[in-house]
Symmetry: C2
Subunit: 216 residues, 2 copies
């Protein structure tokens, strides 16, 4: 992805070398975090010279931004036969998008969320594709009769889950584990899709004095 103003122009490029450098940068972000990452370590691990690296990127920040923009988003749309398990599979890839365990990806999200330029590159690389996957999954659930046809703001629901993951990982330093995935689905995504709603049971509890502002 070209980044005018920081990517140097007018020099011959080898796309394979460039891809390797970005890949190594992605690995190191996940392994050691953004703070400990240096141009030196990237060059060393990639078996390239620092000159090769600096020929392409002026500084660590522009390198990281391009590495994050080049994250491979998993474009496989889960198809498990049920909405709940589709959502679980999908949101699992969201909190661990480059195949790393969520425990490690926590540090990646924390690191990239600290720099708005880097965050926007990540958002641009992931958001539209994720919204599209969610849309397909819900459409299938509607056609199976698992969910009523319904309007919802797929892009903003996707963003809400992203934002929760960032707050969870970066601000509260909690693991992006299965419990997080389950709560995001049960408390945000399913209710928005109207799944699992039972106003009659709720009305009975209200009549019995049981409060409803609790987890379902």
């Amino acid at each position: 992805m070209d980044s005018p103003g920081t990517r140097k122009v007018g020099r011959p490029r080898d796309p394979l070398v460039e891809e390797r450098l970005l890949r190594v940068t992605q690995e190191l972000i996940a392994e050691i975090g953004l703070d400990s990452l240096t141009m030196n370590r990237v060059a060393e691990r990639a078996g390239a010279s620092k000159a090769t690296l600096f020929r392409r990127w002026d500084d660590k920040r522009s390198l990281v931004r391009d590495a994050v923009a080049a994250f491979d988003v998993d474009t496989t749309i889960p198809n498990t036969g049920a909405l709940r398990t589709d959502l679980e599979a999908l949101i699992r890839t969201w909190v661990s998008p480059i195949g790393y365990p969520p425990a490690e990806f926590r540090h990646v999200i924390a690191a990239i969320s600290r720099d708005p330029d880097i965050w926007r590159a990540f958002d641009a690389a992931t958001h539209a594709e994720r919204t599209r996957s969610l849309t397909v999954i819900v459409k299938r659930a509607v056609s199976r009769g698992e969910a009523e046809p319904l309007r919802y703001d797929a892009a903003f629901v996707t963003r809400a889950v992203h934002s929760l993951a960032v707050e969870h990982a970066a601000q509260r330093e909690l693991p992006l584990d299965e419990a997080f995935v389950a709560r995001a689905i049960e408390s945000i995504v399913e209710p928005i899709l109207g799944v699992g709603r039972d106003p009659e049971a709720d009305a009975r509890d209200v009549a019995a004095g049981i409060p409803l502002h609790v987890r379902r």
Copy 2:
């Protein structure tokens, strides 16, 4: 709020001086952001000596954490007679919690979200009270017949709106304006509460080939 380990002990304290220093710190965070804030500027604006300030706090970080923990949460629960306007009033106070215009509070949220310790102090000061307000508002809407009785995860819905505000302000550097408040309500809070749902209209659009993954 005591902060063991950073708040110095064993010295006489004047709560009024302390409160004034925290208040001035809060003002400066909102006005100039956390990066430009210095112990010097706080002392100067408060008309106190640096010695007075350092007697209470070892460094800027512990001062800021205590100032954020002491944010006055608006405990007035809106009561406008309708769910939508109650939610608008409530979420407006969430994105501008210390009475500053949302345009300025954007910088506050961005600043405090960069340090997990400071974020947790802010979260502890605000989250429970906000969840309680949301609960009261929804309960009133149910009793007015505006919403069906329903179970929902009030704490996580509150957190989702907080997280969206952080991502919006800190990561994407967008203003926390009325458009943000409206979209958070229409796309997240109202659908979770089952408000504005119309499966029959949706079904007609499905029959007519109109996609539903759009804003309501």
